[in-house]
């Protein structure tokens, strides 16, 4: 029998948000309360995306040289990470940053669309000599583009720009990467393997190359924006843009430095249903729910439900079994930010708990209902569009 250490309480002490709705906590809280949605139906038509709100990158990435070395997803993420460090009151605190752990949930691979298109055009015109592709790539690719594409270079840029160097781990694997980043960081702190960690991710949804990947599977929301719960007849997601980062730390560490918590990160659980038979996702979510810990009666749910099928219908069946928990789908307001959706859900949960209210429903189907009392617990759900199920319990302090 393995003995387990007494579990350490873990607090969320910093939140950094830079999304399609703006930047910073007040801007987000206002936007959510105004039910604002920022969506572009034309620029990537027929696909619908949520564009990144303009950011003054100089504010968090002072060196232009650093900005030039990054593609949009890295700039957005590095920016949001800076906001999270600022929010936690550790920005520039060398002593803490040098031992702060970091787990980033990342995609990557933003391509140079002009280079790709040119090569394909020349090939279509009959340039098929052996080595043609090699020569074009050698001549046309920017030498540093690779570094803007590598998944672990979001973490690398955060280390360079903000000085977070205790450790640097990058998880990949779409939605599940965001769940596991939070799960492993929490487990390490709870077990005393770490005191403080930066977790999160970022995505640039304004990318035709990544839209191609999801178009293969028929996942892109087309033509007209509709809220997540109203997509039953036209399933799919609108890619979102944004970065969401959190600073989490042991209560003792936070108290010792006088940091104020937004909320407690009580538990994160995850699994991967095979999804071969109807009902598997629903029952996996039910099992995860049962592992979260004690759920009281003043709880709410913030889900990263994608609008893709069959997973959204299976999640809907799960939610129907827990009608006392008012639900919010972050995908309606923010779009689907993939690896970032779960950290985004954690951020919204912590923000809501700290403000003593759940933000208003934004759903014409009636699945989302208003919540008049302050929530004491929020369950964050992340069921991937193709694989991976995760859940977190975030509690008011």
């Amino acid at each position: 029998m393995t003995e387990t250490k007494p579990s350490t309480e873990v607090w969320i002490t910093g939140i950094g948000l830079a999304t399609s709705l703006g930047e910073g906590l007040d801007a987000h809280w206002d936007a959510l309360n105004q039910r604002r949605i920022n969506v572009d139906e034309k620029g990537f038509a027929p696909c619908v995306v949520h564009p990144q709100a303009p950011l003054n990158f100089d504010a968090q990435i002072p060196k232009k040289g650093d900005q030039r070395q990054m593609e949009a997803w890295q700039r957005i993420g590095t920016y949001a990470a800076g906001l999270a460090l600022e929010s936690a009151g550790v920005k520039g605190n060398q002593e803490i940053l040098a031992r702060m752990d970091m787990i980033v949930a990342a995609g990557g691979g933003e391509r140079d669309l002009a280079v790709d298109s040119n090569i394909l055009n020349l090939e279509a015109k009959g340039n098929s000599a052996p080595g043609f592709l090699n020569e074009r790539l050698m001549n046309d690719l920017r030498p540093t583009l690779f570094l803007a594409q590598l998944s672990n270079l979001l973490a690398g840029n955060i280390a360079i720009v903000h000085g977070v160097t205790g450790s640097s781990r990058t998880f990949m694997g779409e939605e599940a990467a965001g769940v596991d980043a939070a799960r492993i960081a929490l487990a390490r702190i709870a077990a005393g393997q770490s005191d403080i960690a930066l977790i999160g991710g970022s995505q640039n949804g304004e990318r035709k190359d990544i839209l191609v990947l999801y178009e293969f599977g028929g996942f892109n929301l087309k033509d007209r924006f509709v809220p997540v719960w109203a997509r039953r007849d036209k399933p799919g997601f609108a890619l979102g843009s944004g970065g969401a980062f959190l600073v989490i730390e042991s209560r003792a560490h936070a108290e010792a430095r006088g940091a104020k918590p937004f909320a407690r990160l009580t538990n994160v659980v995850a699994d991967m249903a095979r999804r071969e038979h109807p009902g598997e996702i629903t029952s996996t979510l039910e099992t995860l729910w049962s592992k979260l810990g004690k759920l009281a009666d003043k709880g709410a749910i913030i889900t990263g439900a994608t609008g893709a099928e069959p997973v959204t219908s299976e999640e809907r069946a799960f939610l129907a079994a827990h009608p006392s928990f008012p639900v919010r789908a972050s995908g309606t307001m923010f779009g689907h930010t993939m690896e970032t959706q779960f950290p985004l859900g954690l951020a919204l949960a912590a923000l809501s708990l700290s403000r003593g209210a759940l933000f208003p429903a934004n759903d014409p189907t009636g699945l989302e209902v208003e919540m008049s009392s302050p929530p004491s617990q929020i369950v964050v759900i992340g069921a991937g569009h193709w694989r991976g199920e995760g859940m977190a319990l975030v509690e008011a302090i």
Partner: protein, 426 residues
């Protein structure tokens, strides 16, 4: 009954199964034979045309054919081969039912050129090709398989299904330190008591034109194309870059308690893991070596050992001018005068740089070093670099008493990781 906890009270983590594939061979036995014979797996690339490339050789794994080729398919297949070997040796669980989680080091997945070209052709020669066109032809269910294939999580998804690992499989990248990070995550899960066993796999099948070009454009690769087998020259004065290579490594890790209880053969102990990120530059180490020094010290302190107790270093040793110089600075700062005496060899001189897989491939070779009490050489060591006075075990394997090995891995993006492996529990 021996103690099952280390001096810090944590469960001791042991290795009960190992698998490896490199350009030299598939499996531990053949790899070890060739590695200790000082053979090179580097050859001129035949998988695709090499015209127009600055570097035309690599350590490709061509004896496991993938048709049609994609790096992701090869990575997946290599991962499967090594996991199967490791699980079979461990004799753990039952077929398709591994009793623990999967930690997978894998190169970032992306759509590759053959598929992009297929889409380009689907647009037709009459229309200007651009991403609007690519997006248009991508839908309608014609290419559904490419969604499944080119998701970042697709390799882990497949391995989790084949081997029946438990829970949410983690795909991770810490660049060229990924293999070591996968092992570290597995060790930590066992130490937390979350799992009795973990499957740690690292795989890389990245030799394709764009990957080669990317490293070429960063001037990271050797261009000694005329003599491919002599191109990887770690620690030599005339080293001029690393050689890209493919491969995979897998470890079955268990708590000593669980392994002993089921009567498993214990192959070695993962005594400690260290990491530390470097904030100096995207591709270069901090000139003062502090992050590497800190990483090595973290590994030693995690293992509860002093540098004097390490008797062999399995170096990162890529053969780039920068890496080898910085690795010497890091090791000599920690080991002092002993840095000149302790054997430090680089497997990459023979198998090339297996990138995301390297940390695990080299952990397997380190454990085989402990098992056979024989140190694999650094080959192609003809012109020593006077600035790096290591005993690199030049050109010929050497029998030696080895009880404790340190294996280093460093990567772009400021990634540093080190593992400490021992034969017996400390």
């Amino acid at each position: 009954m021996p103690a099952t906890r280390d001096k810090f009270g944590r469960p001791i983590v042991v290795v009960t199964g190992m698998g490896v594939v490199t350009s030299l061979a598939s499996g531990k036995a053949d790899n070890w034979k060739r590695l200790t014979a000082g053979e090179s797996g580097i050859r001129t690339i035949t998988r695709f045309p090499i015209e127009g490339l600055k570097t035309t050789m690599a350590g490709t794994v061509d004896f496991i054919p993938i048709e049609p080729f994609s790096s992701t398919d090869l990575s997946e297949r290599l991962g499967e081969v090594v996991a199967e070997e490791a699980i079979a040796q461990a004799g753990i669980g039952s077929k398709g039912d591994f009793p623990g989680p999967l930690f997978l080091a894998v190169a970032p997945v992306e759509l590759e050129w053959p598929q992009r070209q297929e889409l380009g052709r689907a647009i037709g020669p009459e229309t200007e090709v651009n991403y609007d066109g690519l997006l248009r032809v991508s839908g309608g269910g014609r290419y559904t398989q490419y969604h499944r294939r080119f998701l970042f999580g697709s390799v882990a998804d497949h391995l989790a299904e084949v081997f029946g690992t438990k829970g949410s499989p983690i795909s991770l990248s810490t660049a060229c330190a990924s293999g070591a990070s996968a092992i570290q995550l597995g060790v930590e899960a066992i130490r937390r008591g979350e799992a009795d066993a973990t499957l740690c796999v690292a795989t890389d099948g990245s030799v394709n034109p764009e990957a080669l070009v990317r490293f070429s454009l960063l001037s990271a690769l050797s261009t000694q194309n005329d003599q491919p087998q002599a191109a990887a020259r770690p620690f030599s004065k005339n080293r001029d870059g690393f050689v890209m290579a493919e491969g995979a490594g897998a470890l079955v890790l268990e708590s000593l308690e669980a392994a002993t209880a089921r009567g498993a053969t214990i192959l070695g102990v993962v005594a400690g893991c260290g990491e530390l990120a470097d904030s100096f530059h995207r591709t270069r180490s901090s000139p003062d070596g502090k992050p590497i020094i800190g990483c090595v010290r973290n590994a030693l302190s995690d293992a509860g050992l002093e540098s004097g107790q390490i008797d062999y270093i399995n170096a990162h040793g890529t053969g780039t001018p920068e890496n080898d110089k910085m690795e010497y600075l890091g090791i000599s700062s920690v080991f002092g005068e002993r840095a000149r005496q302790i054997p430090v060899s680089s497997n990459k001189s023979m198998v090339g740089h297996t990138l995301s897989a390297a940390g695990a491939v080299e952990a397997v070779f380190s454990l085989l070093t402990l098992e056979h009490q024989r140190i694999p050489p650094t080959i192609n060591y003809d012109i020593p670099d006077p600035a790096i006075p290591f005993d690199v075990v030049p050109n010929k394997a050497r029998d030696a008493r080895v009880t404790t090995v340190m294996s280093n891995s460093f990567g772009f993006g400021g990634q540093n990781a080190a593992l400490i492996l021992t034969r017996e529990p400390a």
